[in-house]
């Protein structure tokens, strides 16, 4: 061994260090009580979960070596792997699974995700039986690493509030990496866990996540090879720039689970937008193809309905609202919005989510000129920061707003919230702030949530998507063009539906970088 050059030795042993550059600062590392990608990225390395998913949305064993859904859909039995241990050496048992599921149910912001869980039985240390009050097909996806980290009961079960538990910053999990160091505002370091229960994994010795707040500095660092991976790049010019660098591979795979959509939302309770014809007219006057192909340089995928492209539940056969100015004018005439002497039918405001100019502000500005052609005057209202925008939109103080909302894999987790009448909740952002209400939609979503037959479930969601697209509480524009950049020489790239918010235990250096 000693005689081999360093490069070759590193290759044979696997190993090496990967440096990830990210603008996302985690609040803490416990994904059981905090959603969002800033926490999910480290949490899925530190904590293992019952299942994981491949790129075809198929569940794979992880902490659970097998799982069985009862024929009545009212319970799921998990058999845990034998040799999983936490980073402190204690074995992972069904007690930990039961504790974690109940903790997530009580504390995770996605209330619908585990609402159906009544209790978790633990007949023996390696068997957990999840008892449900009604069938809950979304549960399998909810068992993904990003959504169901298994916490050690002996650490978190000490009676302290889990949301502010000190262990959230010094986490103990059973995942492939353990947290070695967190330097607030600078970086955190994840180290290979030697006793990880999958033999030969993880392949890397160390992952350093550098927190680089400025996207320009991040791009320069990637081009210089100082960071080896940049996840969640959305800027069209940044993507373009990275694609041109010959040392970097750029991929848009690994985001299907998040299902992030950019859309134009309407306040359906405010005149004249309470008239479906006005909303349809706006959809006909806005050219989705132009936005996607020109404004976003073809980097983004068009989205035509509430379920994100890439999901097996997406219904493509919906009303597309291809650009049609004549039709838009006709609909506005029918809705009684007659042009005044200056050709203006109405004056409305449009807001946008601050932070992503290419996805949000530019589209809002485009809408202003696009709608002028049909006699609608749009005033773009810029908000200086997220809280200001959220305050307006969540209090229904808006006409139109651009927005970016995530599907989170299953409609029950991330889609229903936008359309259910019961989720019209003033003051809460990303609830049904459109105030859209249709009893038929409520009924279908209710049925689909508990439908155990995959075919019937798909049919119900198809119907739902067609109705929502016809009634346009939201005009769907595009999937957020998330891309991951990786240095050449890396193998085992994360291309599953959860991408980098799933364990990076297969990622490795084929050709390690020169240091």
């Amino acid at each position: 061994m000693l005689g081999l050059p360093a490069d070759l030795r590193a290759q044979q042993a696997g190993g090496g260090t990967l440096v990830i550059g990210s603008t996302q600062v985690p609040r803490h590392f416990n994904g059981a009580v905090q959603s969002g990608i800033a926490t999910a990225l480290p949490s899925t390395q530190i904590f293992a979960s019952p299942l994981r998913f491949d790129e075809n949305w198929k569940p794979q064993p992880y902490l659970a070596k097998s799982w069985e859904v009862a024929p009545d859909g009212l319970s799921i039995t998990l058999k845990l792997v034998d040799d999983a241990v936490f980073h402190d050496g204690k074995p992972v048992t069904s007690e930990d699974v039961a504790f974690s599921i109940m903790t997530i149910k009580a504390n995770h912001p996605f209330k619908t995700m585990l609402a159906a869980v009544d209790m978790v039985e633990t007949p023996d240390p390696k068997t957990a039986v999840i008892k449900l009050s009604h069938p809950h097909p979304a549960l399998l996806l909810a068992m993904s690493p990003a959504l169901m980290p298994i916490l050690p009961k002996h650490v978190y079960g000490d009676g302290q509030d889990v949301k502010s538990h000190p262990a959230n910053l010094k986490p103990v999990g059973s995942g492939p990496y353990k947290l070695a160091e967190y330097k607030q505002g600078e970086y955190y370091t994840l180290e290979k866990f030697d006793k990880f229960f999958i033999p030969g994994r993880p392949k890397l010795d160390k992952i350093v996540v550098r927190l680089i707040s400025d996207p320009n500095a991040l791009m320069v660092s990637a081009e210089r090879g100082e960071v080896h991976a940049v996840p969640f790049v959305t800027g069209v010019r940044d993507i373009d720039r990275l694609q041109k660098s010959k040392n970097i591979v750029v991929t848009d795979k690994g985001f299907a689970g998040l299902g992030a959509l950019n859309w134009l939302a309407f306040n359906t309770k405010k005149k004249p937008l309470d008239d479906v014809r006005v909303r349809q007219a706006i959809a006909y006057a806005a050219n989705r193809d132009f936005i996607v192909n020109k404004l976003m340089g073809g980097k983004a995928m068009p989205s035509t309905g509430p379920i994100a492209p890439g999901s097996p539940l997406e219904e493509k056969n919906v009303q597309l609202y291809k650009l049609d100015i004549a039709k838009a004018n006709k609909l506005l005439d029918e809705a009684g919005l007659k042009p005044d002497g200056n050709g203006v039918r109405a004056t409305l405001t449009i807001d946008y989510l601050p932070g992503s100019d290419e996805q949000q502000r530019n589209v809002a500005e485009y809408m202003r000129s696009a709608l002028k052609r049909v006699g609608l005057n749009l005033e773009v209202r810029a908000a200086p920061d997220f809280p200001t925008w959220a305050q307006r939109v969540s209090n229904f103080d808006f006409d139109l707003t651009m927005d970016s909302v995530y599907n989170w894999a299953d409609p029950v987790i991330g889609v229903d919230r936008t359309y259910l009448t019961s989720n019209i909740r003033k003051g809460i952002i990303w609830s049904n702030t459109q105030q859209y209400s249709n009893p038929k939609v409520d009924e279908i979503l209710g049925k689909a949530a508990v439908e155990t037959s995959p075919e019937k479930r798909k049919a119900l969601y198809s119907e739902f998507q067609k109705i929502v697209v016809d009634e346009v509480p939201v005009f769907f524009i595009n999937a957020v063009p998330f891309h991951n950049a990786f240095a050449n020489g890396l193998g085992g790239l994360p291309t599953t539906i959860w991408g980098v918010v799933s364990p990076l235990d297969e990622l490795h250096w084929v050709t390690p970088p020169k240091t």
């Binding site: 260090t17 440096v19 600062v25 609040r27 803490h28 905090q34 959603s35 969002g36 800033a38 912001p109 996605f110 209330k111 502010s164 959230n168 910053l169 330097k183 607030q184 505002g185 600078e186 970086y187 370091t189 350093v208 550098r210 927190l211 680089i212 707040s213 400025d214 320009n216 500095a217 991040l218 320069v220 660092s221 081009e223 210089r224 100082e226 920061d385 997220f386 809280p387 200001t388 925008w389 959220a390 305050q391 307006r392 969540s394 909302v405 995530y406 989170w408 991330g414 919230r417 909740r425 003051g427 809460i428 952002i429 990303w430 609830s431 240091t515």
Partner: protein
Amino acid sequence: MTLLTHLFGKLANAAALLLAVLVLNFCLIHLAPGDPVQVIAGEMGGASAEVIADLRAKYGLDDSLLQQLFTYLGKVAHGDFGYSYYFNQPVLGLIGQRLPASLYLALSSLLTAVVIGTLLGVVSARRPNGLLSHVVTVLSLTGYAAPIFWTGLMLLLLFGSVWPVLPVSGMADVVNPKTGFAYVRDVATHLVLPSLTLALVFIAQYSRLARVNMIDVLSADYVRTARAKGLPERVVIFKHALRNALIPIVTVVGLQFGNLFAGAVLVETVFSWPGMGRLVFDSILRRDYPTLMAVLFFSAVMVIAANIITDLVYRLVDPRIRAGAR
């Protein structure tokens, strides 16, 4: 008035001022639209009404504003600056982690600006209508007029991309951490770009100030006398003239301390420098009230301290002030 009673009076003033700062900060921050709970809910991807209500109660945000203010002042009186909603840590700990980085940045850029600025000013004052003088004037005006983040970005592209010789982000090499002297050198290398960016704005001001004052002083009688005595030009300029020309510069250094912090917010964000400026930026975006109020409070403490120190230095540089002649 002895120096001690003078200092005591200054400190009493400072205490009153800091109380006013606390109250004013509280009011201004709470006037901004949106609240931290909405941000937390937002980052959670949308939370339920129950979660929101729980969070509001937990952070005492459902109390009246006046009550929140008194609770806050009471806590601060006991040295408790609260718990960061966003970073899930006690605020004092957060500031403790960030403060050294900020001080490195502020002091190094201040030093750079004062030294280079003064030298440029002195050099250009010797021939006020010479070519060098005009070049310095134009350059300093450009440095002063350019937005700080733009200067930062240009330096970042120049030294990060076009001619990649300097690190562009962070405070130290985190992949191969250094120790001892190598660590000091590592941090110093990382400091060059942010420190230079911040210094450029101030170099301009100091060089203009030094130039004007030197021109003024160089035409004074005592300088003519010194020259007439046949003293070497170096001694005339640096010993006789500069000492008097420095007084306004010292004053400005003290006054500029606050501007330095404002500039640091932008510089730290561009170069991912882990100081208080970035903490402020992150806390504003997240309406992290406790962190924001504490950072602003400690910035005020530093600005006031800088002013008191300036006042003392002023007395040392100019004996006339010490003697009480006003």
